[in-house]
Amino acid sequence: MKGTYLGEFEEVVLLAVAIRAGDAYGAAVVNEIEQQMGRSVNLGAVHSALNRLQEKGLVSSEMGGMTAERGGRRKRLYKVTAYGQRALEEIRQLRNQMWDAIPKTAWS
């Protein structure tokens, strides 16, 4: 397993996969990120991130059925693994911990 460090974009992609639970494939993830973050992303960036996540064991994938809207091509459906879920939760917990540690005086 590669290092468990999760880059910012990887985290976003992992979150998008979780949001589109059950129907997370390349194009859907692109749409999700664009909608959520309002910025355009490259398909290549998404796929390469998905690839890395799968290598780290944070997502798993399988080929889905054919759909007419894709010209009869199948799509690869991604799913967050238990380990992926724990990684997301850890990040969130870490962030919360850090938020909590910010002294009130910092914002004055």
Partner: protein, 876 residues
């Protein structure tokens, strides 16, 4: 689809790029994603923008992590993978059909081995004499002319020819060499005496022939009393000691000093028999008649060979043109034969010398062509087998082709599969063929009188061998490759695939070609052997059994004729002894200058002339038709003459006995006429010959052994007598019947080679036929089963299966007969004494081919006919 306007698609070039660069297993999902996003963007931001984004996405996808091939799920379809698969399938096919594989590989290997042998033989023939560095500049001095309407070419030259060329035409020549002929001589060192073949040559011969000197120098021949030995001769005479400077004797009379040892001439050179070289000057000094002829500049005695190397700037045609009238100039009285002196270059000595009566070339080159053609044909037969069997099996492979096509093979892949399969078989065959050649070469060398080896180190040989194997593989594989790959997958797999009615026609044509070649070769072999037998059965006019000849090689033998004869007869081992100018198997002297009563003054006569002694007749057992033998009781017989029957007819005189015949003015009286004695070639008519008494003109001793004693005992006794009278020479003798048999050597060689090739051709054809028959029997298993159930007998089925093949062989026979007749008729016309082309020879050959065919086919058809129909009908 509901959308009426055509669905927009992203830029094609980008999609191509994607497919080209990205891993195949990702292409589908990525393309799907791209397409989905593209459609969505067309709706949201318009086509232009969508196309732009599409390209950007594609470019962004071209990253190493996405290009990585996934090896776990799919094999990597590189070219070697497919090739591995082809070879694996090929091996499995070979192993599964052992009989077919054996026939295919074995047949092809035999064909290739034959082609290789013939190729090596042709190479050897073409490289004849190339050992000599001056190959391009050496020539024989020859002359041609016309005598009694027949063109002749001769390489016998008068003694002054050498001097004439050297002095008058010296500018054109680097070397002019006089040569006695290579003949037997006795070499003696101390008590060691050996008979070796050697030659007397002018002193610069070693330079012209570029002898490879192992010790001594090429100038060694300049000293009159010197000798050069070949390596083997030097070893035989001196063992390991250095022979240079040692003294020895030639023919027990000439003392010479060894001045050099040269490397043996290779077997494929003109001079391979020349085991020693002595100086021409020594020859002239030791032979009084040669000295006389040379000193008196006699142009009329043609007894020697003249070799020459032309000057670097000269060419053969130009020099020939300059010297062509030499003979006319020096003896103008022979102008009526139109003599022309010319040079025959070394490159033509071996293959292009030999002329028929009208002057057409009849050299060995014809055999080179003949065997070349046979080789090509035998190879063709083997290739035909291969093609035939592969196409015949095509129906079995059809399912495989169907499945391969369904799975996605394109035609070019199938073609390359079948080509690689045939190349595999060919490479097996090539290796096997080399093994076969190694095995056969010793026998082949003996039959063909050659010393050929495989040219392991010669790149040309390998280039030819491998190039030729590849070519064979491609030709042999082309038909199955192009034919099988054209099958339609759907039809094949549905089972509706049927080869058309005419699919077997090419196969049948090939079988006909095979058998045409085989039958032609069978007929040819029979005729060659018939011709040899015909000549062997010829009456020879004397008795060969127990007759031996001993060469009179030392002066001692000439002095004690009567004492030697008495001693020999006293041993009891010998019935009689005589001397003669030539052995009974050789007619080496012809002369003109005869005159007789009633001769047409314009008749240019020529007779074979032989000197004998009183006892010659009893020794060889000649038979008289008229008159009597020479006898000591008539002293007048010293000028007596015996004619043969042909001579009597030739002279056109009736009742010849007692008539006078003059030879060079000297009168002879005819005492008897003998039945023709066959002394020259057994394929020619007997030559008109006269026999005269002359005890001085004697070259051989003829001895008739006593049949009451064993040959070995007799020879031992004779040897002891010869030791006494001829101490200077080893006792060497020749059996006349063996010498006689040598006259058939050339024809027997052709006969043996032709029969060998014929047998191989038939073998190959039968292998092919066997394969085809087994295939047909297998294919018709069901049909045979049904027929048997309905009551067909074994004979019916056998006839049914054999008929097709018999028809083919009969057609082949019909084609082969005129071809064979044409070629053999031409061949036979070369011989004046020849057998006839009887119809029964053709019948026998045809019948033989038919029987062989039936035997081959019957094995399979009877096997098929005996099969239990329950078994053959049950399986599907």
């Amino acid at each position: 689809m509901p959308n009426n306007p055509p669905r927009p698609v992203g830029p094609r070039f980008a999609t191509y790029l994607l497919h080209w660069i990205l891993a195949a297993h990702r292409a589908e999902e990525l393309e799907g994603d791209l397409d989905e996003l593209f459609q969505q963007r067309v709706r949201e931001v318009g086509l232009q923008q969508a196309r732009w984004r599409y390209i950007r996405d594609v470019v962004s996808l071209l990253r190493p992590s996405l290009m990585k091939r996934n090896t776990n799920h799919y094999p990597n379809p590189a070219i070697t993978t497919m090739l591995r698969n082809y070879i694996k399938i090929a091996f499995r096919n070979l192993a599964k059909n052992r009989v077919y594989s054996f026939i295919n590989i074995g047949g092809l290997a035999v064909g290739m081995a034959v082609a290789m042998l013939i190729g090596l033989w042709i190479y050897d023939e073409l490289s004849f004499d190339r050992y000599f560095q001056n190959y391009d500049r050496i020539a024989k001095v020859m002359q041609n002319g016309e005598f009694n309407g027949e063109v002749f070419h001769g390489e016998y030259n008068p003694a002054p020819m050498g001097t004439e060329l050297r002095t008058v035409y010296g500018d054109n020549f680097t070397h002019v060499i006089m040569s006695s002929w290579t003949g037997d001589h006795i070499l003696a060192v101390g008590d060691k005496k050996l008979t070796k073949r050697g030659n007397y040559l002018s002193a610069d011969a070693p330079d012209m022939l570029t002898l490879n000197m192992l010790s001594g120098t090429r100038t060694g021949l300049k000293d009159q009393n010197s000798i050069l030995l070949s390596e083997t001769t030097a070893n035989a005479l001196f063992g390991d000691a250095d022979p240079v400077g040692k003294l020895m004797k030639i023919d027990n009379k000439l003392d010479v000093k060894v001045t050099g040892v040269y490397e043996d001439f290779p077997y494929n050179t003109e001079f391979r028999d020349m085991k020693f070289i002595a100086p021409w000057d020594l020859y002239v000094a030791s032979e009084a008649w040669v000295k006389r002829v040379q000193d008196n500049v006699e142009w009329g005695n043609f007894s020697w060979q003249v070799l020459a190397q032309i000057a670097p700037n000269a060419d053969f045609d130009a020099v020939s043109a300059k010297i062509k009238n030499i003979r006319l100039k020096h003896n103008p009285e022979v102008a009526f034969i139109k003599p022309v002196v010319y040079l025959l270059p070394m490159s033509k000595w071996h293959l292009y010398s030999g002329w028929d009566k009208v002057g057409n070339l009849e050299g060995r080159i014809q055999y080179v062509w003949l065997f070349g053609i046979i080789g090509v044909f035998v190879l063709l037969l083997a290739c035909i087998n291969f093609m035939n069997l592969s196409t015949a099996r095509s129906e079995k492979r059809a399912k495989e082709v169907g499945i391969r096509k369904a799975v996605g093979s394109v035609r070019s892949q199938l073609i390359s599969q079948f080509f690689s399969e045939s190349l595999l078989v060919v490479s097996f065959a090539f290796v096997l063929a080399i093994g076969l050649v190694l095995l056969i070469l010793p026998v082949f060398n003996e039959i063909a009188d050659k010393q050929i080896g495989i040219l392991w180190a010669n790149p040309v040989f390998w280039l030819c061998g491998i190039g030729f194997s590849v070519l064979t593989g491609l030709i042999a594989g082309s038909y199955p490759a192009l034919y099988l790959s054209s099958f339609q997958a759907v039809k094949v797999l549905k089972g509706t695939f049927r080869v058309g009615r005419f699919a077997s026609i090419p196969r049948q044509v090939l079988v006909v070609v095979q058998f045409t070649v085989s039958v032609t070769l069978i007929i040819g072999t029979i005729i060659v052997f018939r011709q040899i037998q015909h000549a062997k059965d010829r009456p020879v006019g004397y008795d060969r059994s127990g007759l031996i000849t001993v060469a009179m090689n030392t002066p001692e033998l000439h002095q004690h004729y009567n004492a030697l004869r008495d001693d020999l007869i006293r041993t009891g081992a010998v019935i009689d002894m005589s001397t003669s100018s030539t052995p009974a198997t050789d007619l080496n002297s012809q002369n003109s200058g005869f005159d007789w009563e009633g001769k047409d003054p314009n008749f240019k006569e020529n007779f074979g002339t032989i000197a004998v002694t009183h006892d010659f007749g009893k020794t060889v057992g000649w038979q008289f038709v008229k008159g009597r033998d020479f006898s000591r009781q008539f002293t007048s017989d010293s000028s007596g003459m015996v004619l043969n029957e042909t001579a009597v007819r030739y002279m056109g005189i009736k009742d010849p006995v007692g008539k006078q015949v003059k030879w060079n003015g000297k009168p002879y009286r005819v005492v008897g006429v003998i039945k023709d004695m066959l002394m020259d070639s057994p394929f020619k008519p007997v030559y008109q010959t006269v026999y005269v008494l002359d005890y001085g003109w004697a070259n051989v001793i003829n001895i008739k052994l006593n049949p009451a004693h064993s040959t070995r005992e007799s020879l031992a006794k004779i040897e002891s007598v010869f030791r006494k009278y001829n101490p200077g020479s080893p006792f060497d003798y020749r059996f006349t019947d063996q010498q006689y048999a040598l006259k058939f050597a050339a024809e027997e060689r052709i006969g043996k080679l032709a029969s060998g090739f014929a047998i191989l051709a038939i073998l190959i054809s039968c292998l092919g036929l066997f394969g085809l028959a087994s295939f047909v029997a297998e294919q018709r298993t069901k049909e045979i089963g049904v027929r048997k159930v309905l009551g067909a007998s074994v004979t019916n089925v056998w006839a049914l299966l054999s008929r097709d093949f018999v028809v083919l062989v009969v057609i082949a026979f019909g084609i082969a007969t005129p071809i064979a007749w044409y070629f053999l008729n031409t061949w036979l016309h070369k011989y004046e004494y020849r057998t006839e082309l009887s119809w029964w020879i053709f019948a026998v050959a045809g019948l033989g081919a038919l029987i062989v065919t039936l035997l081959t086919v019957s094995f399979q058809s009877i096997k098929a006919a005996l099969m239990n129909p329950v078994k053959s009908l049950r399986s599907e």
